[in-house]
Symmetry: C2
Subunit: 339 residues, 2 copies
């Protein structure tokens, strides 16, 4: 259900170009994740294997590796384990998302829900969650498990609010910001925080990395929501206008609502409420006329700026250039939506 | 989906009579659980509150308190926290079970799935899981979180196997035993293990308590499956024969299968496969004729004996009489099914 997950059908993605630096880390992560299958009960091992698919974007693991970056030579086992934890949590949410969305295909394969039935998929997602948190206890202290379990609860809270709000037009920008802060930015934040922490950096940098991750996560989600209206279907890998069709009031629609004359706004409201079919072509025209793209791109820009500002006092730390590179790529992706 | 959960509609239950000893502990547990609501995001607090309902059986918390028993005077805060962890994990599985079963009512109230929709209920169960494991990190070491997250994964594995096996007749007694060992006995085991551990008992007793819990859990589940055919609907609080109707091959049906002549067995097989409507009345008669009750009651008895044997070398430890009391009650309950 999270918009974050809905671009996964595309072979490339926003950040792929800068992930080359951590390609050996990603390879180790894959080996590590495959090794985890042994921990699952034999009866569900093949199902867990099906979910631990290697073709994902692996954005959160990259954030862990970037934030803990000490140079290309060393790959700290702790970082690989943390990357596995956050990725497993993310995979578990995807398994549950696909059930709830009734999605049949993800990453060109049948979803777990389609493959094993939704009942088994609910339980399989639970088992992935449980194993992620079990892995998180394989550190000397409770710190990782505590941080990740809290983040997981916040991700769920964000998705619950988003779910209950579908088809409602009583949504403010602050409501929207709160949901994406929870459902997307939280796991970005904890990935950066734990990466920096177990990369051995000083508390001030750890805190800054967490703040960076949070703003990057918000920026990424707004970009993703923008791409739902302005993307090129083939490149983005999803059908345009799905948020409108499902009654999900994302920022582009919120801005359009604000800028439409009252009569047009009433029509759009009726569509969100599901009282009449959605008129995507009309609203894309209206968005062009009212420069919705500019307003939403500015919101992405503001979050990118906040992310950059978080790292500004730490420019000399090894992770800083890598993390800031993600901001540049995201900015370029936003621009490319209008190209 | 677990049979354990399906008797919850009844006001009394098998163990209620011996829980009086830990009534003050249960009261503290309730206060503690209510206090946890603060930890949930404000947007989902009311939903979490709805799930943390005080009228449950609280069997797993009782196992924690009994296994850590040092006398009536002291209620160790650690035990209250562990009891809350295992109960929250159990509640999360119930929330997910009710979605998958399409259950509308539990404990005389609408299920979370019915109240908030199944999408929100999947996420709410996830949030309860996440919070349970977060609570488990509030100990000096990772031990509790590690044990509980592993148990949770095993519970899910058991339920997945049971789910995928519905409507299949290719099930052995060993298959049945394995599923209930995972889905029910595992959380009983970890409750007793952690109770004894944080009650400050020696490793030998901690290990014995875990073994006791496991066998008690298996015994309890077999009893529960027996009650599906031999219980009194009003007292048991569920409709008889639901396992047959849902194609779930529990021990009473397995024994009946073994003992039926080939032709009758073929008919029963067709019913399990969903190829013809189930004939509960006929099978209840057959069960009587072939003494299925006796065979299943003997299986319960064997597990109770194993549970008792685990504690035999530790009879002088304060928890032993309390835990053994549970065996006596369960035995009486089995006998009462035929009364």
């Amino acid at each position: 259900m999270s918009a974050t997950s809905s671009v996964t059908a595309t072979p490339g993605h926003a950040f792929a170009s800068v992930f080359g630096r951590v390609a050996p880390h990603m390879a180790q992560l894959d080996v590590f994740l495959r090794g985890q299958l042994e921990a699952f009960e034999p009866e569900i091992r093949a199902m867990a294997d099906y979910c631990i698919d290697t073709s994902g974007k692996r954005i959160r693991p990259a954030l862990v590796f970037f934030s803990g970056w000490r140079g290309p030579a060393a790959i700290a086992p702790d970082l690989v384990r943390i990357a596995a934890v956050v990725e497993l949590v993310h995979l578990a949410t995807l398994v549950h998302d696909d059930i709830m969305d009734g999605a049949e295909v993800r990453r060109s394969r049948r979803t777990a829900a389609r493959e094993y039935g939704s009942t088994a998929a609910v339980l399989l997602g639970d088992a992935l969650f449980a194993h992620a948190l079990n892995l998180a206890t394989q550190f000397p202290t409770t710190e990782v498990c505590s941080a990740v379990s809290e983040s997981t609860r916040r991700v769920c809270a964000g998705e619950i609010v988003q779910t209950l709000r579908r088809g409602s037009t009583n949504v403010t920008r602050a409501d929207y910001q709160r949901v994406i802060d929870l459902k997307t930015a939280e796991l970005f934040r904890v990935s950066c925080h734990l990466g920096a922490r177990y990369g051995g950096f000083a508390p001030a940098f750890v805190e800054a990395a967490g703040r960076f991750g949070r703003h990057l996560g918000i920026a990424y989600q707004i970009y993703d929501d923008l791409a739902d209206f302005f993307g090129e279907e083939k490149r983005i890998g999803k059908t345009l206008g799905t948020d409108l069709a499902s009654g999900k009031l994302t920022l582009p629609l919120l801005v359009l609502m604000e800028r439409l004359p009252a009569a047009d706004r009433a029509e759009l409201t009726a569509e969100i409420l599901g009282e009449r079919p959605s008129q995507l072509a009309l609203h894309l025209r209206q968005m062009d006329e009212l420069d919705v793209f500019g307003a939403v791109a500015a919101a992405v820009q503001a979050e990118i700026a906040a992310a950059q500002a978080a790292l500004a006092p730490h420019a000399s730390e090894p992770p800083a250039p890598l993390l800031l590179g993600l901001c540049d790529v995201l900015q370029a992706q936003v621009t490319a939506l209008r190209a």
